[in-house]
Amino acid sequence: MSRHLKRDLVILVCVALVVAWANGDLKDLLGIPGWQSYAVRIINMCAINAVLALSLNLVNGFTGQFSLGHAGFMALGAYTTALLTMDMAAKDRVFFMTPLVEPLRNLTLPFLPALVLAGIVAGLFSLLVGVPALRLRGDYLGIATLGFAEIIRLIIQNVRKVTNGALGLKGIPPVVNLWWTLGSAFVCYLMLRNFLASSYGRAFKSIRENETAAQAMGIDLFKHKLLSFFISSFWAGVGGGLLASLLTTIDPVQFKFPLTFQVLLTVVLGGMGSLSGSIIAAGIVTYLMEFLRVVEETHYWGSITIPGIPGLRMVIFSLALVVVVVWYPKGLMGDRELTVAGIKGVLGRVRQRLRIKGGRPA
């Protein structure tokens, strides 16, 4: 146990050093410049998408409840963070058409409490929808949560005194850096991993496998579903808050249904019921979408010009998805987890096979 702790600590310190390097924190101390902002932005997006995918996976993958309300909870988190971190001058400039209501106008909080509050607000709203909706099962729950997300978006669009309506918000303080995004993803992962290993987590999984059997074993279905929904929405809110601060601008149109779908796609790609799968898929999807820009760009090679085809990366991306679905119907990881022991096992088996192959001719 202590050996493992030591190993984990060494890994953590190494990762922290790399993050410090990438973030540009070593510049003042050692004169080493940080990474290019494009790379940093992609890593930031990977981490935010990982938080979103992990949280959706808790409800959809581990508890087996088909929820499609993620975009709505993200919107709540994003608007909460934005309104709580912007200062009064910035708010006055943005709310030039309909002034912001009074207590919110004067209120400015540091980023961390604002982010936590964003999660809590999203979580409370999830209880509001969860109490009636979680009595439904399967597709019906999906439709109810989807409807709820749309309601949230329409409310944001229409309550101009609080949200500035369709005009959206601008000038949100750009606090977020790699520490915040990767840190949130790390905390989210740790929390969900430990939670799923607890009796609650086992109860979630039993609900996924068979509700009636779980109930017969004395599990309070409603309580557990609501808890799962709350935690999921909390992290969706945090993810929305991180996104708001990264972009420094939000508007209601951003939080339409396709956003939920994008997160759901990541979850399915990674594997329903695999935390590491969600993280891996978030990284792949985010990176691939940026990497594939190459095929859309015009390339100038001396006098030769190769025109790009806008929209082609979506075609390639969909083809890649089809391949994954055909080969891995349960997603990249299924419901397995990526562990250090697992990697060692695979490497060991590969080594063994190579040795056998190398040994045969001799």
Binding site: W35, V94, G168, Q254
Partner: protein, 393 residues
């Protein structure tokens, strides 16, 4: 078998990793003092537009205008200008990514874009941090250039457009009362309606001249509720800014409900689909826009129209013309600054005065917005006909 597949996939993904790392440091080197001073034969200008997604048609039309401008004027200061297009998929996150990529990986000195104000705001934040000047073609929301010394635009802004239509309604149509029907989900429609109301109240001197402000949502098919109320109020004009599809549908339904008041709108109505959907019912619909082929007088605009028709075999619309102007305004700034350094281009752009563009004479005001004239068009015999030009007032 499963395992080999897994290993194959992992290896395949591992192949991607060097690209990110390879691109990173190399491009930073070029961006610094590595290659640029040695090889000053090319100037890179970035473009980020919605080439796919909800606003794809607007982005594509703008890109056509920019490409044409680049073909007609491929050089400045003896250097070749290279265009780099990034698609922002009508998505804010993608817009910010696209601008970051243009600046970090393509080493652009200036950027053009984007159709859609919210996309421009997201991209503008990145450009501001990186201190690269951006010229917007058609984002009309005042928030775009607010607090962003690196964002300029060649179009007029919503407050002016609202004022123009209010003036037209009260002076040319002698209207005393109006009803506003707007799309609440559209920042553009909400803004325009607000400014129209302000200006109309000022012009008529009557606080109650706007009889009602009615709302609908994107994708609504049935406007009977709003239109029945409009019919009962019997206004002199109806101001209904919104997207061309929704608005055309609304006007059809209004005519079938026997509402005869003229419908007024903004530049988003200017699309062939507006007339296709609306048919005879949209005859007489009036809109303000940036530019009209029939209104052009200068040689520059004639050259543009001829070249555009030759290349694309169709009439240019306002978005293509604005894209064309944005490109040429950057070239003009580079020429005046006699330098392709972003900071110098920015300062030269800020000092743009009486730039003769296709869409009018452009002068940058202190908010980096274009001070220029608007054009009023009316649907007549199944086509947009030029009515009049309104100078800034």
């Amino acid at each position: 078998m499963r395992k080999t597949k897994f290993v194959a996939i992992v290896l395949l993904l591992a192949l991607f990793i060097p690209f990110l790392q390879g691109c990173g440091p190399k491009a930073t080197g070029e961006n610094g003092q590595g290659k640029e001073p040695e090889k000053p034969t090319e100037i890179h200008i970035g473009v980020y537009e919605p080439m796919t997604g909800a606003s794809a048609s607007g982005g594509q039309m703008t890109w056509e205008g920019i490409q044409l401008a680049n073909e007609m004027h491929p050089e400045v200061l003896g250097q070749t200008v290279r265009l780099h297009l990034e698609d922002n998929k009508t998505d804010k996150t993608e817009a910010a990514n696209a601008v970051t990529r243009l600046i970090d990986q393509k080493n652009v000195v200036a950027i053009i874009g984007s159709y859609g104000s919210s996309l421009s705001i997201a991209g503008g934040e990145v450009a501001k941090n990186k201190e690269i000047p951006v010229v917007g073609c058609s984002p009309t929301n005042p928030l775009v250039t607010q607090d962003n010394p690196y964002y300029f635009r060649v179009c007029f802004i919503d407050p002016f457009q609202g004022k123009v239509m209010a003036k037209y309604a009260s002076e040319n149509l002698n209207a005393k009362t109006a009803v506003i029907i707007r799309n609440v989900q559209d920042d553009y429609a909400v803004g325009l309606a607000n400014y129209f109301k302000e200006a109309f109240i000022q012009l008529t001197g009557d606080d109650k001249c706007v009889l009602a402000e009615l709302e609908y949502n994107t994708g609504d098919q049935d406007f009977t509720a709003q239109l029945t109320q409009t019919a009962s109020l019997a206004p002199d004009v109806v101001f209904a800014p919104g997207n061309y599809g929704d608005s055309a549908l609304m006007i059809r339904q209004a005519r079938s409900l026997k509402i005869t008041a003229p419908f007024l709108g903004g530049d988003t109505w200017e699309a062939p689909e507006f007339i296709e959907i609306g048919g005879v019912d949209v005859e007489g619909a009036t809109l303000s826009t940036h530019y009209s082929v029939q209104a052009t007088g200068t040689d520059a605009s004639k050259a543009f129209v001829d070249a555009y028709k030759a290349k694309y075999n169709k009439e240019p619309n306002a978005f293509a013309a604005l894209g064309y102007d944005a490109y040429l305004m950057i070239l003009d700034a580079i020429k005046r600054a006699n330098s392709a350094e972003p900071a110098a281009i920015r300062d030269a752009l800020a000092g743009t005065k009486d730039f003769k563009g296709v869409t009018g004479t452009i002068t940058m005001d202190e908010n980096r917005d274009a001070n220029k004239s608007a054009v009023i068009l009316q649907v007549k015999d199944g086509a947009f006909q030029y009515l009049t030009t309104v100078e800034p007032f």
